[in-house]
């Protein structure tokens, strides 16, 4: 939105001063305008770009995006197919086709299309992330976990990937997955000790494991949970003002979970 208002107020009249940068600016303004549903501005930009670069695939893709914004999905799809015919390695057009399916809520087809794309372009991490989210939307946790595994393999130091993977494993529920979840949360904490989310994840995963009966490592799970709770308490006391913490009763809820664990062992 800021881009569009900047364009309208300032840049439009000062176009000549931008020199060669002008065309990149047009492209960016066009996309920003589509985002804000200002089809008028985007049409102007596309016309200008077309007259300067008549056979450009980049311009064609902007036209495709405009059709998408107008919900003329068929036309957009055909246009992208043309682009792919002309240039088989064009990642952008293929991804837009997936976006079209997603916009029409055809999640399963979008998953299929994205899978095909990833077979050819295996290193596209954004695509793997998107596929993971699509699988989560249809609640296919196993496949979503697989996507995250690919991402972790590519970027093992990114604590967010470990965290998301752990969350998916936790959601799957059974004890083996819960143990895996706990490990990955721990790894995420190691990579980023400030991540409250991973601390909570570790706490909950360990509590869950400790609470379920017949686990040999019950004691060690209780210790993990207690450790995570301690870390969380420290974070809350140092970062948040005390009255806010008291109001939201955060620490008490953590205490209660811990107590219920230790009660069970004494029985």
């Amino acid at each position: 939105q800021t881009v569009v208002s900047l364009w309208e107020d300032v840049l439009m009249s000062e176009r000549n001063k931008l020199g060669d940068e002008l065309w990149t600016v047009y492209e960016q303004v066009c996309i920003a305008a589509l985002d804000c549903q200002r089809i008028d501005i985007s049409e102007t930009c596309i016309e200008l770009l077309k007259s300067k670069f008549p056979n450009s695939l980049r311009v064609k893709r902007l036209l495709g995006m405009k059709y998408e914004a107008e919900e003329r999905f068929h036309k957009a799809g055909d246009l992208y197919d043309d682009i792919i015919k002309e240039d088989e390695t064009n990642m952008f057009a293929r991804k837009r086709k997936v976006a079209i399916l997603k916009a029409q809520n055809k999640t399963l087809e979008a998953i299929e299309e994205l899978n095909k794309y990833l077979k050819q372009f295996m290193t596209d991490f954004e695509a793997w992330m998107e596929l993971c989210d699509l699988y989560l939307a249809v609640q296919d946790y196993t496949k979503a976990a697989f996507c995250m595994e690919e991402l972790i393999m590519s970027n093992p130091h990114n604590h967010l990937y470990h965290q998301k993977f752990a969350e998916i494993k936790y959601t799957m529920g059974d004890p083996d997955n819960m143990a895996i979840a706990r490990t990955y949360f721990a790894q995420a904490i190691k990579l980023n000790p400030n991540s409250v989310r991973s601390l909570y994840g570790c706490f909950l995963a360990s509590s869950n494991l400790a609470a379920s009966s017949n686990r040999k490592d019950k004691q060690s799970n209780i210790k993990y949970a207690a450790w995570a709770a301690q870390q969380l308490k420290e974070k809350y006391t140092t970062v948040q003002p005390e009255d806010l913490t008291n109001q939201t009763r955060v620490l008490e809820s953590i205490e209660r979970v811990l107590e219920s664990l230790t009660e069970k062992t004494s029985n």
Binding site: K102, L136, A137, Q139, E167, Y170, L204, T248, V250, R256
Partner: protein, 175 residues
């Protein structure tokens, strides 16, 4: 049939949460006054707690959040009695599986609970009726409630005024 009231605060918070993240799905819970002792047929939603945007369905954070909200509610005499969700897609106002699962969990704690599915297309300045559809639990699934008046004129007016303020990421992004 219980009468439902949604306070200005709850309604506007839901609106702001949805508009703040125009590119994502958002969800949250609604808190109501705990009426068990009073035995009245009016359910008043006084506040809401926005939960997530982007990925709505992963359990650990959901459990952590509900734990905390539960503790907060007990200290104030509230109860988690509702759940709202706004889908990512502009035209998607279906009650999807995520909403049903979370709705069920809330219902286990509070029998008289409701799901509010926000209709993205109705998020505009000319608000003449509520921006969501309500569902109440019936046997194995959720049934849509017919036009229940849940908000006052005052609430709708305040909500429309919010749109006049230009705040970051708000306004036309999701429309």
């Amino acid at each position: 049939m219980a009468e439902l009231i949604v306070s200005i605060q709850a309604y506007c918070k839901i609106l702001l949460h949805a508009v703040k993240h125009p590119h994502c799905a958002v969800n949250g819970v609604l808190l109501a006054e705990d009426n068990k002792s009073k035995d009245r047929k009016v359910l008043k939603f006084v506040d809401c707690v926005p939960l997530f945007h982007l990925t709505l369905s992963l359990s650990p954070m959901l459990e952590a959040a509900l734990l905390q909200i539960d503790a907060y509610c007990k200290s104030r005499g509230y109860i988690i009695a509702g759940y709202y969700q706004a889908n990512e897609n502009l035209r998607d106002k279906e009650l999807n599986n995520v909403a049903k699962t979370i709705g069920r969990r809330i219902q286990e704690n509070c029998a008289n609970s409701y799901i509010f599915m926000v209709d993205n297309e109705r998020l505009s300045q000319m608000l003449s009726s509520e921006m969501y559809r309500m569902y109440s639990p019936r046997e194995a699934s959720w049934k849509e409630e017919e036009k229940l008046e849940t908000v006052t004129e005052e609430t709708l007016r305040v909500a429309s005024m919010l749109f006049l303020t230009d705040f970051q990421g708000g306004g036309c992004g999701g429309l």
